[in-house]
Symmetry: C2
Subunit: 154 residues, 2 copies
DNA sequence: TTAAATCGGACCACAGCGGTCCTGTTTTCT
DNA sequence: AGAAAACAGGACCGCTGTGGTCCGATTTAA
């Protein structure tokens, strides 16, 4: 568990295909064929990616999709968030007071905030360009990131 | 999204309560009161944690639960896995061939494996002892961990 | 004008999650 | 021995969200 949705998974595959042939506009059915996915799903996902400003779309006969910016400047986190909304591990997050069985006596709250940041930043470190390379050399190093302002050495 | 389930969330809260009073056996209704959660849910979660070898249980009148080992040697990842099964971000994982729209031409597969490991290891680094401390000093440093055997500097 | 494509929805089946409850079994206390 | 207190192990169910399909409207090129 702790899964991303299937559609997010598909989205990343589709984005890598678009990255690979980044010269021309690809339409939904071309991409569906390339990825081996049903065309209606592909259309749905491409629409969401366009809404999330990760793709640009061109309507009409010679229309299709292409990246809104370079693959090096698109992150896995952005793709997931375009499909699923903000990444957060727990519900207890982002200032929704009056939820957590009343007050903030909950001991784990602050810690979850940090964990959220770490995981989100981990996925923000991975670019589409890296995902598009089959056997990526420098991926998810994650090194020496510190979340808490008062972090001490372990 | 990318959420853990509510029950995993509850589980961690319950585990921190057990950690705080680690001298005696706490029963389900005591813990339910402490955490402000309905007692049936608490019972269900405690059973799963016991199955996952994170708690030890004592039946009978003076029964209850206590930690199976010290809080410093129980990780957040273990708690989540006791409730939800193995942590994996994507379905495409763990050698299930003949799934991924046939063959392993999928370009992102290898990369997801690494991301899975990074997130799982991140949650494996955080101990229950750290979660039990309200404002944890040294949490989720995650520094200088390398997943791929051929990682190069960025 | 027509055809090809995206856009924006509505729509539905189904699995999984959240939550309750019931019947055993074990243990302690009287 | 018997009763009460607690865990063990399920069955069960409502509901949300996901996966997936489809349709009409709009845009664009030929």
């Amino acid at each position: 568990m702790l899964r991303i949705t299937k559609q997010s998974d598909y989205a990343i595959v589709l984005m890598t295909h678009i990255t690979s042939s980044e010269d021309r506009w690809l339409n939904a059915s071309e991409l569906a064929t390339q990825a081996g996915l049903p065309q209606p799903i592909v259309s749905k996902i491409l629409k969401l990616l366009t809404r999330g400003r990760l793709l640009e779309s061109q309507r009409g006969v010679k229309g299709g999709y292409c990246l809104a910016r370079s693959a090096a400047r698109i992150t896995v986190a952005e793709i997931i968030e375009a499909l699923e909304g903000p990444i957060s591990v727990t519900e207890c997050v982002e200032e929704s007071p009056g939820e957590c069985t009343q007050e903030a006596f909950c001991p784990v709250r602050g810690n979850w905030q940090r964990i959220n940041h770490v995981l989100r930043d981990a996925l923000s470190e991975i670019t589409l360009e890296e995902m598009a390379r089959p056997s990526t050399p420098a991926l998810v190093t994650l090194g020496s990131r510190e979340m808490a302002p008062d972090v001490t050495a372990r």
